[in-house]
């Protein structure tokens, strides 16, 4: 079982974090000229966790709006597997990468089609480029691209067309490299239906398992929720059911990405790897997150006992004042100073690394990733029945704690308290 870090333009993991076993590179966050010009040896030397790496083609982002998501569209188009969506090739003799990006962003609205390639030839070409790129990058497995599933009544034929062509191309261009089938589903198809009777999940499981690929790469789009934590029990239940079904049917490797902390929960039902980062765009898949923004992040404090984070302007101090410290504390090297201050009845603002201010996020990032690595390591050392017990105990505690914290009232929405009960209900409904 592994925790994989999300790798975009910034590929470094916070200093001091151990227990991250690899990375998934997301093209929407790093243009091809930047990624591909880095030598593999240099890449690994600079970022050791990239010794084990995957590249997610992110074909499920084909419908991004180029007028609002210029940076992501330019990055994606630069790889060459989005069909007619294209950008001018970068030539280092003619311009700098920064100039190339600026020029490409200015034109992308006229060259990005907002459609996945279609037609046998276009799909074949797209997949061929995609597989060749992953092979050249030295990825340990190939993630076969798939469009996003947004229609609950689909017959899944478009996705299966991509998958079958992907299997053919991979067998020819990259024999011997394990292949992971992308299962990218929008929560629009999941929220309204009990996961145990969702025929789309049955269909996906049947068709993917019947193709005998070496693994599956599961991504859920969070189109209908705004938080960092997906809260709907049917969505989380669907993630768990997919994972459980794939593993139960003998699929060798299941990787879960963009599920946030719920990815850790998926490992309790058999997921082999899960991927996260601290930033919102690394934790959830939501097309609107790709809109060009200039906002900066603020720090938050992750409490594993709560399975959530605290907004730091007022919320954590209020919770401590009301006697919740013992239940919410979470010790890591990065949080040691904060914990010490809170135990001494000092306020968050007195700890510079955690003071609520824009971009003061280094400690928050390190703490979050350390906590996620810590829990992953704990689960790796556990047997299947221990993992089930871990999840149940964790969620029961988190749901109770969230309910108790509600009594404080007036908490910032970033202190998310809605998902814990939904996760517990999804867990308890598992067959």
């Amino acid at each position: 079982m592994s925790l994989l870090a999300a790798a975009r333009y910034q590929m470094a993991i916070p200093e001091g974090v151990t227990g991250i076993d690899g990375a998934i590179i997301f093209p929407a966050g790093v243009p091809a000229p930047t990624l591909l010009r880095r030598k593999q040896s240099t890449l690994v030397k600079k970022y050791p966790h990239l010794a084990r790496r995957l590249l997610d083609p992110q074909l499920y982002l084909a419908e991004l709006n180029p007028s609002r998501c210029r940076a992501s569209c330019v990055n994606l188009a630069s790889y060459g597997w989005f069909g007619d969506s294209h950008v001018e090739a970068y030539d280092s003799k003619k311009m700098t990468q920064a100039d190339w990006r600026t020029k490409s962003k200015a034109k992308i609205h006229s060259t990005w089609t907002s459609l996945a390639p279609s037609g046998q030839k276009a799909v074949h070409t797209s997949i061929s480029v995609c597989v060749a790129t992953q092979k050249a990058l030295g990825c340990e497995a190939l993630i076969l691209p798939s469009p996003l599933t947004v229609d609950a009544s689909t017959d899944y034929s478009a996705e299966l067309g991509w998958l079958d062509e992907g299997l053919r191309v991979a067998a020819k261009l990259a024999p011997g490299i394990p292949r992971l089938t992308t299962i990218a589903v929008s929560d629009t198809c999941l929220r309204g239906i009990d996961p145990t009777s969702n025929s789309l999940l049955d269909l996906i499981l049947d068709q993917v398992v019947a193709r005998n690929t070496e693994g599956a790469y599961v991504v859920l789009e969070q189109a209908n929720e705004h938080g960092y934590y997906c809260s709907h029990p049917n969505t989380i239940g669907s993630l768990l059911r997919l994972t459980q079904g794939l593993k139960g049917a003998g699929v060798n490797r299941v990787v879960v990405a963009f599920a946030g902390v719920a990815g850790l929960l998926a490992t309790c039902v058999g997921a082999d790897d899960w991927c996260t980062g601290w930033y919102r765009g690394e934790r959830r898949l939501r097309l609107a997150d790709h809109e060009d923004q200039t906002g900066r992040a603020n720090p938050t404090f992750y409490s594993h006992g709560l399975a959530s984070e605290f907004h730091l302007q007022l919320d954590l101090d209020r919770a401590v004042e009301k006697g919740f410290l013992k239940r919410i504390e979470d010790d890591t090297q990065a949080s040691a100073g904060l914990m010490k201050a809170l135990r001494a009845n000092r306020r968050v603002a007195s700890v510079p690394d955690w003071a609520y201010s824009q971009s003061n996020v280094a400690a928050a990032k390190e703490h979050f990733m350390t906590a996620m690595a810590r829990e992953t390591t704990k689960l790796t050392a556990s047997g299947p029945s221990q993992r089930l017990l871990y999840a149940k105990t964790w969620l029961e505690g988190a749901a109770k704690l969230a309910a108790d914290l509600y009594t404080l009232g007036g908490l910032n929405p970033r202190t998310e308290l809605d998902h814990q009960d939904g996760w517990l209900r999804a867990w308890n409904a598992l067959p």
Binding site: D155, G161, L203, L205, D206
Partner: protein, 242 residues
Amino acid sequence: MFRATAALPKKGDVDVALKVYHSDEYEERSAREVRALKAVNGPTIARIEDAGSVVIRGNKCPYVMTSFVQGEVLASRLSGGSVTPGVTAGIGRDIALAIGLMWEARTVHRDIKPSNIMLGADGRAVLIDLGIARHLSLDSITTTGVAWGTPGYLSPEQARAVRQLSCASDVFSLGIVLQECLVGQHPTGRRQQLLIKGGPRTATVRADVPGPLADVIDSMVRVKPHFRPSPGVLVQLFTSLL
């Protein structure tokens, strides 16, 4: 709707089965059958020999010609009673092999039943009559809400008229056929509604079936298709039981 008959083809001296469709409705299905079958070739599956169309009474009628398998239809054999567990395992191996070959071409037979299995003179079972085999990429042809196949042998998902079936559906049907082989009669009296939650346990239809064989067949008739063994795994399992 069509007739199959033995005939001598123009080229060579191989007996063939000829299926002529008498309705435009079947033309598309016939064309799909041809495409599907052309991609499939193996010792336990009927081989396509020719295809085209003929004019009968002024109507253009497509036809498909497949190799004619000499031997006895399994349904006929079972009318005389059950077969031994060893013969059952052999049929399981051969037809699982055929299902696997069809699935490599992303084709599902959709009508596996005793009357579509021939027991050849060489002792091997051969899957015939792929007349309703459907090439899965041609999804638009399937009519929503209509289940093709024969009641009593349909997988739960096929009975629900799920538009995309996988080889797991054929695996289920084969499991029912194998139970019928062991008992000499259909395990639920061809009542499809009794298969909604999966097939019956093999031990309940015949108590003295060797445990390992019963376990394999039980796994084939599970309600969830992704929990059924793949054709490749089945070939290995049945081979180990022979």
